[in-house]
């Protein structure tokens, strides 16, 4: 069963104190309540006295894994939703960050994030790697029962219908790049949208250019997207961003039984090529 936010919060506060006692960490990255807004925001705790600031709420949407790249190689502790733990496993598998520099507090039986459609089709409800865990584990049986009959976004649409949907959705894009910035696997030091020699994405915000941005971002996602929904949650225009990436996620799962970030030892999708692999194309 999924755990309650309240239980998770209580356990997180207890374990945080332990983590500070047992490890010489730079900080513990978790969620806290905004002093004036009351909204959940990422916090960087420096000492055990701050442990009671930790919370877990249904609006804890940001992926904290992303912050760890900013402060590596220092030893850091992090509160990881199961999707965050997959992003971390993926980082480790790519050599982006060392396992030795992480203290992971995983959330078992994650109750999900309000409004995040990714949580409805989530196939990882317990962390894949963790040093500490909070909450009861969710059994595989229970997870399968919950996923029974669940369709992913636009699963039943034809490519033509999907294209029309994408065009309509992406026409609202303002190129703020919040989707990219919130995405745990969009970690390039130099993103193609910021390249002007060559200029991959021309200046301006016509429907065509908006589409180019999203298509190019999506092209970098097969075998990398952990299907966390952070892109969609970050979008201030309510663009159904996941409708494209979730398709790639599920195609990789169906065709190659591949899910990114399931284990730190897992090779990446493209480095695991086998000439027997089927090649029907991704669309």
């Amino acid at each position: 069963m999924a755990n309650s936010y309240k239980e998770i919060t209580k356990e997180l506060q207890e374990i945080a104190a332990e983590v500070f006692a047992e490890h010489e960490i730079k900080h513990l990255v978790g969620f806290g309540r905004g002093e004036f807004s009351g909204l959940t925001e990422p916090v960087f705790l420096k000492n055990p006295e701050e442990a009671e600031r930790l919370i877990f709420q249904d609006d804890a949407a940001p992926m904290l894994s992303k912050y760890l790249l900013k402060y590596k190689p220092d030893l850091q502790a992090v509160v990881a939703k199961p999707c965050d733990s997959r992003a971390l496993a993926y980082y480790i598998s790519e050599g982006k960050i060392s396992r030795d520099n992480l203290v992971i507090i995983g959330i078992n039986g994650c109750p999900g994030i309000e409004g995040n459609t990714a949580c409805q089709e989530c196939d990882t409800r317990n962390p894949v790697i963790a040093d500490y865990t909070v909450g009861e584990e969710m059994s595989q049986q229970e997870l399968e029962a919950e996923l029974e009959g669940v369709k992913y976004l636009l699963e039943d649409m034809t490519p033509a219908e999907r294209k029309e949907h994408y065009s309509r959705e992406f026409s609202r894009c303002t190129q703020c790049y919040a989707c990219r910035d919130a995405c745990p696997v969009c970690y390039c030091d130099h993103c193609y949208v910021e390249s002007n020699q060559p200029e991959w994405l021309e200046e301006g915000s016509s429907a065509d250019k908006d589409m180019i941005f999203h298509l190019m971002r999506t092209m970098h996602m097969p075998g990398r997207c952990v299907n966390c929904g952070a892109c969609e949650m970050a979008c201030p225009e309510g663009i159904e961003m996941r409708s494209m990436t979730t398709h790639l996620y599920h195609r990789a799962k169906e065709l190659y039984n591949y899910r990114p970030g399931i284990s730190p030892e897992q090779p990446t999708l493209f480095s695991d090529f086998d000439k027997e692999d089927s090649e029907p194309g991704f669309l």
Binding site: E41, F44, P62, Y67, E194, G204, E232, I239
Partner: protein, 352 residues
Amino acid sequence: MIKKLTAEELKALLGELRQKFLVIAPFRVKQGRLTKVLYQPVKSEDQLSSIYLKEQPDASPKEYFLPRDDRLGEETAGADCQPEEWSDYPRLFLGVRSCDIAGIELFDDVFTENDFVDPFYQQRRDNSLIIGYSCQEPADNSFCQEVGINPLENENVPLMLYDAGEGFYLKVQDQEVLKRFEMLDMIEELPEVESSELEEIVRENRKNFSENEFSLERGLPFPEKEAFTSVDWEEATASCLGCGVCTFYCPTCFCFKFFWEEIEKNRAWDSCMFSLFTAHASGHNPRETQDQRWRQRLLHKFSYHPTNYQGSPGCVGCGRCVSKCPVNLDIRRVLDRVEKTLAGEGVKGNES
């Protein structure tokens, strides 16, 4: 002069005004998982019943004055290329709140300043008539009163609309402007009431704006040098992802970039939160890290802008940057940190 009118009468008035103006008003719009309130042109008489004034719109009317993509003309037209492509049909903005009115006034200061008049902005501005709207309760995360804005009344627009529960009050504040747009007669026809009726409504609504947990203790501008060097900007803004949502939704952020499409010159929104904003052709970037960009955004609003414009803040306290931020990074928390740091260092402030 104060007029009282029913919802039906307001609709009839707007219907009449549609003969003269393109009426732009807030509507509820579904966008994916979000339902937003956005300014949109009224395209038909029927739409007048769907105008939605109850909540602060998700975006200010900024894009109608400084469009996201602004075509400035062909290069061959020379340096004095004038705005002529788009219509000079007058526009009427209905239901603009004090924070957003202040945002437009800030643009006036910047884009129509003595020797530096932006003809594109000015033409749009001259063709626009604004009917203000008195807030009944504070919007989420707003702190307008802390930056000197009165959410209930605003004398800087020719007409101000007040929701009276049953019906509306319309306060005429500048008859000259109404004459210029040839609409004074229409307004004068409406029944006039005593100002005490309206004052009572404002007094009642003011109670909803009593205490704000956040307060700005220090007057503006913040001392540039001390704030720049003594605040731990990295610590205060560590969660910033570096997207431009706060600036795009900000009613006062106006930074732009130029680009060419063949021989056509364009201007589009830019953001100080982007790494490319300050990147030099040499490869050097004077603002290399995100906290430096945050420092720029905050100090532009609370130090540089007030320094250049008689103490007037560059922030209108609408709270949208907080509500829209993907990680809920709160500018009030950062301001609080700046104030505490300056106070701790014994830096004297201006009288608030």
